[in-house]
Amino acid sequence: MAKFDETPIVKDAAKNGVLAPPELREHASSRVRCWPSKAKDTIPIGLPPERVPDWQERAIAKFGELLERNKALRVYMDICVRCGACTDKCQFFLGTGDPQNFPVARAELMRKVYRRYFTPGGRYLRDASEAADFDEEMLEKWYTYFYQCSECRRCSVFCPYGIDTAEITMAAREILCSIGVSTKYVTEVVAKVYETGNNLGIPSAAWKDNCEFLEDELQEETGLPIRFPVDDYGAEVLLVPPSADNFANVDTMIGYGKLFHALGIRWTTSTYCNEGGNFGLFLNYANLKRVNKRIIDAARMLNVKTIIWGECGHAWRGGVLTPTLNGPMDMFDPPYPYHISQFIVDMLNKGALNGKIDKSANDQYLVTYHDPCNPARAGQLLEEPRQILRACVNRFVEMPANTIREKTYCCGAGGGLLTDEVMAIRMAGGKPRAMAVKHSGANFLATICAICKAQLPEAMKYWKVDVEVGGVIQLLGNALKL
């Protein structure tokens, strides 16, 4: 890990795996910012290449438009009573102590502007109503703190009205990118999707090479023809994994291959769309929809019966939006959208894997499960991964109750923060999860999200937790008797 300024990070220890709220450290993380986007990325994805001259008017106009189009935004601008229930819930506050990382303080950045331009109190009694102009200083705060939110929704679970900060952050970013203010990391990733079909920018030829390489490897290792088909027209299943699975998390990819081999299902990936993760979620609606559409298009091109989403948290959040964003999915086999964890559980329940699993293959591991934020809080996937783990490992342990299931902490890098210039925020945000893992004593941290799989090894190393990070399906793959 490259050197970075660690002063924004609170180093207090946890008790029993749970962090107490730290002392307030105002402005602690106010200088940790993502790099701004470049014209080469913003132009192809339909955004202004630089901040537009009339940015204030345009931002307020966009704000007004979103208030008319999004009930959540409208309601959540009004009804917060600032009770403080959320103030010790965000991993970025727990890790930095910066009160601007209270979910309520983050949302207030937007509410102040809302009151100033959209309520009578703010228009005529600006200061008494806690309203503020959308000026240079406010713009800078928005850019800083709406990119220190991972849209993980943990705060919403504790809010008496369920105020969803992710909706607020998404709206703020939508406004920002409409005036030409966006981050290099997110825009670069979205631009890569349109160019290569995936977030990492892997060209089709390299994708095919990787798949063939895996086939050769497994042939050597197991003596079996385990296939990783690409662009197989007429396959039963189109698997939409996060592209990182065929690059960094190959053990997860091997898990898919072994599973479909064991079940005898003809599956494929697509070089048009070999990416489930949807960075449009972190940018704006137009790109969310456009990236999502590639999945449906790829499935039509290959004439598959079912689309299965791989182990990726944001992919699944985008996945459940698919019928809304890009039309009904009636031409595919239900249930749709379909997640690989649900598919595995369905297969287990049908008995399709009976006698094919040897749990002892994972006996060297004491496994714990990290609920990625989106599957847990936006995708109803709480039981399935645990059910799979119970079926394929003997030694499983849960982390403290306050840190799992719908109360899970974000890994610290979701929502478009998985970029090195905000390493301080990532390590601070990863702290509550690291402390909980340490307390559990596990030596294998299983999860179902590519961003978690990229972030957690670094966070675990930083916080000195000796644990291997990998996919749930990786453990299933280990245990499958082929």
């Binding site: 999004n70 959540a72 403080g84 303080a105 929704r153 939006l321 109803q380 996937l381």
Partner: protein
């Protein structure tokens, strides 16, 4: 002040006019704000999971939020106790105020007579606790704004003046009731010119005026929170969630 004097009559007319103004502002303001929430579409499914999968389940989740604040219970036990007691006492007090608005008075309202003062004190104590909490904890102190203190102060003053006027510096209740019923039946009569009652009453009018345009609107907004009132049905056949302003054909 005597209503027989011209000044007294003018004052009565002023109070009556103010009553109608604030009452109408409250009703129209509230309907306008709630209609705003109602007509604004939610473009995508937004339920926080684990979520109920049926409409009935979602309704139960919202009613649970309104009645027992389960999320707050998960978040902060001390705050939950303070907030829940505060709201239950407020509901009890509002219910008991029906005796000034109804004729004949429902039996249950009369039955509450013996515990009414108790609820008044409890409400006042809870308001004090919530006010103290804002100042005492560094995190709540940081986020508390002028409107937050103002709302608690206003409610606390209303409670205090209400207790005083009911139990110590009595106002003649028959006059109060005649005044309120007169307003409601559009045959207004002069208000009782009791300083403490008029204080209590004007503070209530201020509250009515303030309510629809402030955070107090959480009382209505809670029913419109998409993260809580939507069932999770995205994987069900025939339950496609349609975005009203951007629906692809098919």
């Amino acid at each position: 002040m005597d209503t027989a004097t011209p000044l007294g009559t003018l004052f009565s007319l002023f109070i009556i006019g103010l009553s109608y103004f604030c009452g109408l502002a409250f009703i129209i303001g509230l309907l306008w704000r709630l209609f705003g929430y109602l007509r604004t579409p939610m473009p995508w499914p937004e339920a926080i999971t684990p979520a109920p999968t049926t409409e009935g389940g979602a309704l139960a989740r919202v009613l649970g939020d309104v009645l027992i604040f389960p999320n707050l219970f998960k978040a902060d036990k001390a705050l939950w106790v303070g907030a829940w007691v505060f709201h239950v006492a407020l509901a009890a007090i509002l219910f008991r105020h029906l005796r000034y608005f109804t004729y004949p008075v429902p039996g249950l309202v009369l039955y509450m007579e013996t515990v009414a003062l108790f609820f008044g004190y409890v409400f006042g104590a809870a308001a004090l606790y919530l006010f103290w909490r804002r100042l005492a904890l560094p995190r709540t102190l940081y986020i508390s704004n002028v409107p937050d203190y103002f709302a608690l102060l206003l409610l606390g003053l209303i409670a205090g003046s209400g207790i005083l006027v009911s139990y110590w510096a009595h106002v003649y209740i028959v006059d109060v009731k005649a005044f309120i019923l007169g307003l409601l039946t559009l045959h207004p009569v002069a208000p009782p010119l009791h300083p403490l009652f008029l204080t209590h009453y004007s503070l209530v009018l201020l509250l009515l005026l303030y309510f629809p345009f402030s955070k107090l609107l959480h009382a209505g907004g809670i029913f419109f929170s998409p993260s809580r009132n939507q069932p999770y049905q995205v994987q069900m056949r025939g339950k496609r969630y349609v975005n009203p302003w951007d629906s692809p054909a098919g």
